[in-house]
């Protein structure tokens, strides 16, 4: 193959890629706008400072988990263990901080390290041993959950007061949880400028081609799980800030919710396409849908059903429009 041909092919691929991403984004952002408008209509208190703080505080963990999941999925993998990585990182950080304000920094490092270590386990099993990501992370989810129970057998312990109180304050007029979501977006934007993430796209898009272009496929795959794990560690700090206490059972919903957020955000599950900003929007959509159903007075018996249907509809809309773009 000549270099010129290669370049042209790459160019065509890039154009197609941008088109798909944009169409997926339009759907994601329209959904987000729709759900925000509906929420504001049904909840008179939606724009009060308390409501904004509390709404954002609730979905901070999911937002970080969604960014983590996005990186793995873009790299062609899947991480079902994100939820228990969050749980394990949170209880380790809780133990490390031991309720002391002075140790909050150390707590962050502990959470990041725990998350990254869990990610490394996943990464080695998936990339080096070459096992199916779905099965591997399903199994490691139980392993991490089990370790969590060993570290913290029953709920308890107190988060440093500065952390749980700080999480509820406003900083420069903007609630801290909103800053956290912005930070998640900033982390993604910073990462997306790196060669690492370009390689993740390449591996997720076509691992063989990436390998042929001298991308260190094994290392990139493994590293994508490590970075995702570290981000799950940040999600864990969000959980701690939100709850103010430790709970080994926290985060059970996070793994599947993060996958739903990723798909809502227009990221193709077969990898190589999309961006985590969409996943963040997806996470917010998921959280607000539950909110809207509550304020619409949907009876509790039907709310889960309704929530599932709305999410399926949103997913279908987002996936079908992407598929159409691909066919074209």
């Amino acid at each position: 193959m000549s270099t010129g041909l290669d370049n042209r092919a790459a160019g065509t691929r890039a154009v197609a890629w941008i088109r798909r991403v944009q169409i997926a984004s339009v759907v994601t952002w329209s959904l987000l706008a729709a759900v925000v408008i509906v929420n504001a209509l049904v909840q008179p208190t939606f724009f009060t400072l308390y409501s904004i703080t509390s709404t954002f505080a609730t979905f901070v963990p999911l937002v970080f988990a969604a960014v983590a999941q996005a990186i793995v999925v873009i790299g062609g993998g899947l991480d079902l263990s994100i939820g228990t990585i969050v749980a394990l990182s949170s209880v380790v950080a809780l133990k490390v901080m031991n309720g002391s304000d002075a140790l909050i920094g150390l707590g962050f490092l502990a959470a990041l390290a725990t998350g990254a270590l869990c990610g490394l386990v996943n990464g080695i099993l998936v990339a080096v041993v070459r096992l199916q990501p779905l099965i591997v992370t399903f199994a490691t989810a139980s392993v991490f959950g089990g370790v969590t129970l060993v570290v913290l057998p029953s709920p308890g312990g107190a988060v440093p007061p500065a952390m749980s109180q700080g999480f509820r304050l406003a900083f420069a007029g903007v609630p801290v949880p909103v800053w956290c979501v912005l930070a998640a977006a900033a982390i993604w934007l910073a990462l997306s400028r790196t060669r690492f993430l370009r390689h993740v796209y390449a591996v997720g898009g076509d691992a063989l081609a990436a390998f042929a272009s001298l991308v260190p496929v094994v290392r990139i795959r493994a590293l994508s799980y490590v970075v995702a794990g570290a981000l799950a560690g940040l999600a864990a700090m969000g959980v701690l800030g939100n709850t103010g206490s430790g709970d080994p059972f926290i985060g059970a919903d996070i793994a599947l919710d993060s996958i739903a957020a990723v798909v809502l955000g227009g990221i193709a599950l077969r990898g190589g396409r999309g961006g985590a900003i969409g996943a963040i929007a997806g996470a917010i959509i998921l959280a607000l849908v539950t909110n809207v159903l509550f304020f619409l007075n949907v009876p509790t018996t039907f709310r889960e059903l309704a929530s599932g249907l709305v999410i399926i509809a949103a997913l279908a809309l987002s996936v079908l429009t992407t598929r159409k773009a691909v066919v074209r």
Binding site: Y50, S51, T53, D101, L169, A183, T243, S245, I250, F294
Partner: protein, 361 residues
């Protein structure tokens, strides 16, 4: 390049950390609290919120129905206007969202069956900061300002453990089928029961978890029966005792294995049939109606009445246990409830007058 990735990550984490902690010294409670909820002693009608993080068990279903029944009475006379139910299977993070939804809805009091004794403290503070009263049922929480309304879980466990210890005697050999490992109610119960068995010299051969689920309880008990052939008794909790009994029955051991049961109709129906064959059991009532009882307390306090400190335990309401059901009084109790479906959990809700006794004046 990879160094830059790391640096970017680190820098942003530090920025995040700095943002979170640098605002802290200004003190808690400054972020929210725009809308003041109705405090104590104002006039109604009031709105009540209910948060429940676990659905699908007969206990929780009946708990909600009891609350609804008492609410309807109050609605009729205009004391309450709305009951907002947050009732879904969720974890602590989800239950925090439930409570926040209730806060944003402007409820005056929240009745909660908490998923955790500690992890809801921060969101309770948010609610309390807006003048919302909170009542925790079924399981106690550690937040001081929250009024816990419920039975004494350790005493509940001790009652059946004591009875079983007497039946099997010193040196008796039993197995245990517990609820969910790490769950606060399970820990409180098992610690109390274990102390009783240690004291009485009863040998606990194995402890397994039945997840408060009949099918799981049955499976776990079958395994235990296969492993330990010479057991004389089983100590188990409500929600899975019928499953345990089914396993004992399937092994044809109801004549020589004593099972601590549950005060639920399905179990009692089996008990009534097996009783003739010499089967002995005990059922201690854990009433789902505590939620409805808590509603009476909420209404009284919203109307501005004060709890009589001498009748509370550090501000909490500990409800008396009813006499346990044993072979001695079985027929009497069974006659009252046998027409109800098997899913019925033996229940009691305090009346308005009984609740009044807890208040000053």
């Amino acid at each position: 390049m990879r160094f830059r990735t790391g640096a970017a990550l680190a820098a942003i984490s530090v920025a995040l950390l700095a943002g979170c902690s640098s605002t802290a010294p200004t003190g808690g409670g400054g972020g929210g609290g725009e809308t003041e909820g109705a405090g104590g002693g104002s006039e109604g009608p009031f709105t009540i919120g209910v948060s429940n993080g676990f659905v699908g068990s007969e206990y929780r279903t009946q708990m909600i129905e009891d609350i609804q029944t008492v609410f309807d009475e109050y609605k009729e006379n205009g004391t309450l206007d709305e009951l907002v139910l947050e009732n879904a299977d969720t974890d602590v993070n989800g239950q925090i969202q439930q409570v926040r939804n209730l806060i944003n809805r402007g409820v005056d009091a929240i009745i909660i069956n908490p998923n955790s004794g500690t992890a809801l403290d921060a969101v309770f503070q948010e609610a309390l900061g807006q003048g919302i009263r909170i009542y925790a049922i079924d399981q106690a929480v550690e937040t001081e300002e929250v009024v816990n309304v419920g039975i004494d879980q350790p005493l509940w466990a001790e009652t059946s453990a004591q009875w079983l210890a007497e039946q099997v005697g010193e040196g008796g050999r039993i197995v245990v089928v517990n609820g969910i490992e790490g769950h606060p109610a399970n820990e409180a119960r098992w610690n109390a029961a274990k102390a009783v068995f240690d004291e009485a010299g009863v040998e606990v051969l194995a402890v397994a978890n039945g997840d408060w689920d009949q099918a799981t309880g049955q499976q776990v008990m079958s395994d235990l029966l296969a492993t330990y052939t010479d057991i004389q008794g089983v100590w188990t909790q409500d929600g899975m005792a019928q499953g345990v009994l089914r396993a004992v029955e399937a092994a044809n051991r109801t004549g020589d294995i004593i099972v601590t049961g549950e005060a639920r109709n399905g179990y009692m129906r089996m008990w009534s049939e097996l009783k003739e064959g010499g089967f002995e059991s005990i059922g201690v009532v854990n009433p789902p109606g505590t939620g409805a009882t808590a509603l009476h307390f909420a209404v009284s306090q919203l109307e501005g009445r004060e709890l009589d400190e001498s009748k509370t335990e550090n501000g909490d309401i500990v409800l008396d246990l009813e006499d346990p059901i044993t072979n001695d009084n079985f027929d009497e109790v069974w006659a009252e409830v046998q027409d109800r479906p098997d899913s019925y959990v033996l229940d009691s809700v305090l009346t308005r007058d009984e609740v009044n006794a807890y208040f000053v004046g």
